[in-house]
């Protein structure tokens, strides 16, 4: 059986399901027999799950307004001078 260290090194491949067939078997065997690695897998999965559930930050309206103003200025100056970009 592969060691815990080996398993850990391949953890992403295991979680993202990118390991090739023979490695996948090794990893599954290890995790089914090693309580430590089982817990590490479980808690890493939960870690990723809570991060994926994180809501994107609202942009403060003042920030949003200033962004639109800056864009508008740039677009207007482009139109006024008629310069081709680059």
């Amino acid at each position: 059986m592969i060691t815990c260290k080996d398993f850990l090194r391949e953890l992403n491949e295991y979680l993202d399901e990118t390991a090739d067939v023979s490695m996948k078997k090794e990893l599954e065997l290890h995790v089914s027999q090693c309580p430590n690695c089982f817990v590490v897998v479980d808690t890493t999965k939960q870690t990723l799950r809570v991060f994926k559930g994180m809501e994107p930050q609202e942009i403060p309206s003042t920030v949003q307004t200033r962004l639109m103003e800056a864009l508008q200025r740039r677009m207007n100056s482009r139109r006024a001078t008629g310069t081709a970009p680059e």
């Binding site: 992403n12 309580p35 808690t43 994926k52 994107p56 942009i59 864009l71």
Partner: protein, 205 residues
């Protein structure tokens, strides 16, 4: 949000924008601005810098749009601009401090696994959304910039490994190695926070 992106058909907008249609470009901006702002905040960890990054990113995108080949997705391309801007800000800030951005890639080759404990049942339901966001934000902020950036792109913005490598200008193996360390460090922190109290692995065996 990932779903919203999937149904959003940017191709016609992009084409109009590239032909100089300001309205179309504005629509593209409005579609991606929250994600770019979030990304900028995660990397720079500073409101003022994040706003600068947001503006610079879309101004540059507007400037260079005619040269955008469409080989990569618009979002990947814009993300790449944003990451560059954000890293520049970060370097500028860090240069006043003692922590160099380009620390040796790894301090200790060990993959960190110290806290081995199961989480409480429905741990995150014990916290309000705001508290939870704060916990997660703090955990990410505690990562080294190299790790943090890769984690944010891969696991929060859900770019592929290849897209992340492209956006950061680093190799695919470097993305993988940083991502593994980032994930393990975050696992460590969150497990410390959420573990079932009064229990350790030996109860489990």
């Amino acid at each position: 949000m990932a779903q919203a992106t999937a149904v959003f058909d940017e191709a016609p907008l992009l084409e109009r924008a590239r032909a100089g249609d300001a309205e179309a470009f504005t629509e593209l901006v409005q579609h991606y601005e929250r994600r770019i702002y979030r990304l900028a905040k995660h990397i720079t960890q500073n409101d003022e810098d994040a706003e600068d990054v947001l503006q610079e990113t879309f101004l540059k995108a507007f400037e260079h749009l005619p040269g955008f080949q469409g080989n990569s997705k618009f979002y990947t391309w814009v993300t790449r601009i944003a990451v560059n801007e954000a890293l520049m800000k970060l370097r500028k800030r860090k240069s006043d401090k003692t922590v160099p951005l380009d620390e040796p890639v790894d301090t200790g080759d060990e993959l960190m696994v110290r806290e081995i404990a199961v989480w409480e049942e429905n741990a995150e339901e014990k916290y309000s959304r705001q508290e939870m966001n704060d916990i997660l934000q703090k955990a990410v902020d505690g990562l080294k910039p190299d790790f943090r950036t890769v984690f944010v792109l891969r696991d929060i913005e859900e770019l592929s490994t290849e897209e992340t490598a492209e956006a950061l200008g680093i190799s695919v193996p470097a993305v993988k190695s940083r991502l593994l360390r980032a994930r393990l460090q975050l696992r460590e922190k969150l497990t410390r926070q959420f573990k079932r109290k009064g229990e350790n692995i030996f109860d489990y065996l």
